[in-house]
């Protein structure tokens, strides 16, 4: 495994550790390294940013150099295969698809040569992995979206996407926790709050979770939203 690991400085206080380009396998290595660094922290590391195939490590540049960190890391990297990741949680996200909640559903369906109902069926048919949280607090990158549903991003991103919007882009899907600009195509909306500062875990989803989407009616959406 060590052979496919590449380490590169990203800034004067960060290193990028990359594990190949094949997401399913590489992401497991990312989660293992993250888990190991969280359970056995290295002094003077300030932050960790996991992604599909990489982990960005930020450190205190007054106390550590890229070279010193790389040497310490090599000891961690040789132990990745021993890391036992915690048993993943299984979670469900209720979604009201289409209409004003999913303004791009019809276009996605027609781009993919299917009916909106078939698109919903496909989106709810698989179990997704939370590859990582990134972009904004609580935004989970979920994959993989079934191939027939893969659609490119919007040519012109929206200036503001309503919180709870469920989007797709390429083979990814995810839920926008906050009103932010976004280029993913919106197919529905969930009443589940993806990020709440008054909740112990804050983010509804954590890295490594297994997630399924469930189609709910507008009435059910309203009930859940006010619950």
């Amino acid at each position: 495994m060590m052979d496919c690991v590449r380490i590169q400085p990203a800034s004067d206080r960060s290193l990028l550790v990359r594990f190949g380009h094949e997401i399913t396998e590489s992401n497991q290595q990312v989660r293992r390294l993250l888990h190991l660094l969280e359970s056995e922290p290295i002094a003077n590391i300030c932050n960790l940013n996991p992604a599909y195939c990489s982990l960005l490590i930020t450190f205190d540049a007054l106390k550590l150099t890229h070279g010193e960190l790389e040497t310490i890391l090599s000891g961690y990297l040789t132990r990745l295969d021993e890391v036992r990741l915690p048993e993943p949680r299984q979670l469900e996200i209720p979604v009201c698809y289409g209409g004003e909640f999913g303004p791009d559903l019809n276009e996605v369906a027609s781009l993919c040569g299917m009916s909106p109902a078939q698109a919903i069926e496909l989106h709810t048919s698989v179990t997704y992995i939370v590859y990582f949280l990134g972009f904004v607090p609580g935004f989970a990158y979920l994959g993989e979206l079934p191939e027939p549903l893969a659609t490119p991003r919007l040519a012109r991103p929206r200036r503001s996407v309503p919180p709870g919007s469920v989007g797709i882009a390429g083979r990814q899907t995810g839920v926008y926790p906050f009103a932010v600009p976004g280029g993913w195509r919106l197919i529905g909306r969930t009443p589940t709050a993806m990020f709440r500062e008054d909740r112990a875990s804050m983010s509804f989803l954590s890295i490594g979770d297994r997630v399924r989407f469930a189609s709910v009616s507008r009435a059910r959406f309203k009930t859940l939203e006010s619950a």
Binding site: I23, L34, Y52, C53, L56
Partner: protein, 303 residues
Amino acid sequence: MLTTVQDRGREGFGPLGISPSGAADPISLQLGNRLVANPESAAGLEMTLLGGTFHFPETAVVSLTGSDFGATLDGAAVEPWTSVDVRPGQTLRLGATRTGARCYLCVQGGIAVKPFLGSASTHILSGTGGLQGRPLRKGDVLEIGSSTAPYHKRTIDPHVRDRLSPYGALRVTPGPQLDWFPESSQHAFYTATYRIGEQSNRMGLRLEGAPVLRGGAGQMITEGVSLGAVQVPPEGLPIILFVEQQTTGGYPIIANVISADLHRVGQLRPRDEIRFEQVDFETARSLLIEQEKLLINKELVLE
């Protein structure tokens, strides 16, 4: 008007997608806190381009650092970079900036708000930290932390201040995707003068000027992005990711502002002009060490 409560920020929550936030010009906040005998972790107010009016019902010791917003206390000019004794009932007024983008108001005892993940910093987008997770509004009442230290006049040595904020190009190290850009584009990037766009904020600074074009059309796999990363979207106009940045990104990064120059980014206003100069990682590190030496130097504060 954009005034928020800020401290050094909350680093370490990348796995949740939370960026550190914190003061855009942390050195000005740090020196402001030093002037009023606060710990370095104390929270102050960060004002952007335009100040505001602050009424003090009780006695306070304050300092103004960063850019000059033409402050007055009950009509009399206030010396910046100096601790000021405020009597009960006095009013501090700040206008539009005369120099850079941000002015910091520190108060002895610090601005007391409920911390979020160990920090008072406002993260505007997620509505967390600071005062109710939002910028200040007219009529807000801020609590001041308790402090018993008597007033003591302190000033930051102007010579050291000048050395902390050198003029000239923003220094950057090579970005992780530098080699995605052909030599001609790299040359364009390092010779061009860029103007800070109006759309710039604490999340990022949008640059206007010569576009930096990519060679190939390969898609990048989303990865973690560092503070000060200069990312280049397809149309070629660079964006400097800043304190309230996205934690991951999918655009190639051509360069990264060095740590010692990040505080200067916090003072850039829309329409200001900048250039980039590449330095190696060794140089970036020695510049940071040099800066730290200036900051811990006892002679920095004149008493």
